[in-house]
Assembly symmetry: C2
Homo-oligomer: 200 residues x 2
């Protein structure tokens, strides 16, 4: 790289989202996964990020692992804590979209009002909701993290599906059913649905 | 772009920062500007982003405009509010570095403890502190936003330099003096200092 003066003199000041999108060669937006614990959100998010990355798309996945331990470590799992959790994640996703990144978010996000708030923050045109529609019984059978067992034993409070409701999307953009369809077919459905959104 | 199955089958799951850095062709880190209101932080941040963008670097600028109105709109300018403001900004910057972006942050960030906390969140090796060292008298003369006049008239409380302290960096990475040096020379100094950091 080059640090000669010429590079500074010729600058246009005030780089904006359109400049960043042009640099990356694609539009930026948010793919928002919602669904029960164990429904397959993280697996789909990882798969989608890998698929997009391999095509040269700038991606980032926001999930509980990198936000509950960091920016949202001061929040609990009460309704108010969940609401603020989703608000902040939406604001971060919005900044990342502005930075030119396709953001994949993977949160249970059980309340319609909170997802609507996220959509309002990010902007309807940049918010693609993917409902990972898997029945509670199947999620509970999978119980990948052993959380349902603990929730049934009252060792975890406010657990979505057990002691706290999940409000399914009414008019979601995409629905995938991980108990009926293979991971690859679910990913394929999502990739086809977002294909046009990527185009500059 | 192509959405055939082949693109899914060949995926490595779990894209990490090193993958994103490789894709972008450069390392990611934070350039953290600190200094009084009117010292020239925003101008330098804009200039730095434009210079890096023109060289193909993925950049994003975090500043009060895009965070105080969004994710941090619930915070005031008390010491506690400022502390939480800087903590959240540091956490967002950290996520963006993970996403492969060179983050330019432009905040007065007057307290050493808060900047040290930001450095701890982001990681010492990814945090470059730039002290925009401009005397209060000059900043007050410039008074670009008319804020010093209001602060002197007690219309704004907790105003850094007037009614709230600014703790200058003791061992900052880079210092620029916008009252003595041209914008271009200040930018040149910063660009030279971060040159090695960009290399993969």
């Amino acid at each position: 790289m080059n640090t000669t003066r010429a590079h500074i003199h010729s600058q246009k000041f005030g780089i904006v989202r359109a400049d960043r999108n042009k640099q990356r060669g694609h539009q930026s937006f948010v793919v928002w996964f919602t669904g029960l614990s164990g429904s397959g959100k993280s697996t789909l998010a990882n798969g989608l990020e890998a698929a997009l990355h391999s095509r040269g798309v700038s991606t980032y996945t926001l999930d509980g692992d990198n936000t509950r331990m960091g920016i949202n470590k001061d929040l609990d799992f009460s309704d108010q804590g969940r609401k603020e959790n989703i608000r902040r994640v939406a604001e971060i996703a919005n900044l990342m979209v502005d930075s030119g990144t396709v953001v994949i978010s993977s949160y249970i996000s059980p309340f319609i009002a909170d997802r609507e708030n996220a959509k309002a923050i990010i902007g309807t045109e940049d918010f693609i909701e993917v409902f990972v529609d898997c029945p509670l019984e199947i999620c509970e059978q999978r119980d990948v993290k052993g959380l349902y067992e603990k929730a049934r034993a009252n060792l975890i409070s406010n657990f979505t599906g057990i002691s706290s409701p999940f409000e399914a999307p009414v008019n979601g953009d995409i629905t995938v059913q991980t108990h009926l369809t293979s991971l690859e077919d679910c990913l394929q459905k999502i990739l086809i649905a977002i294909e046009n959104k990527l185009q500059l």
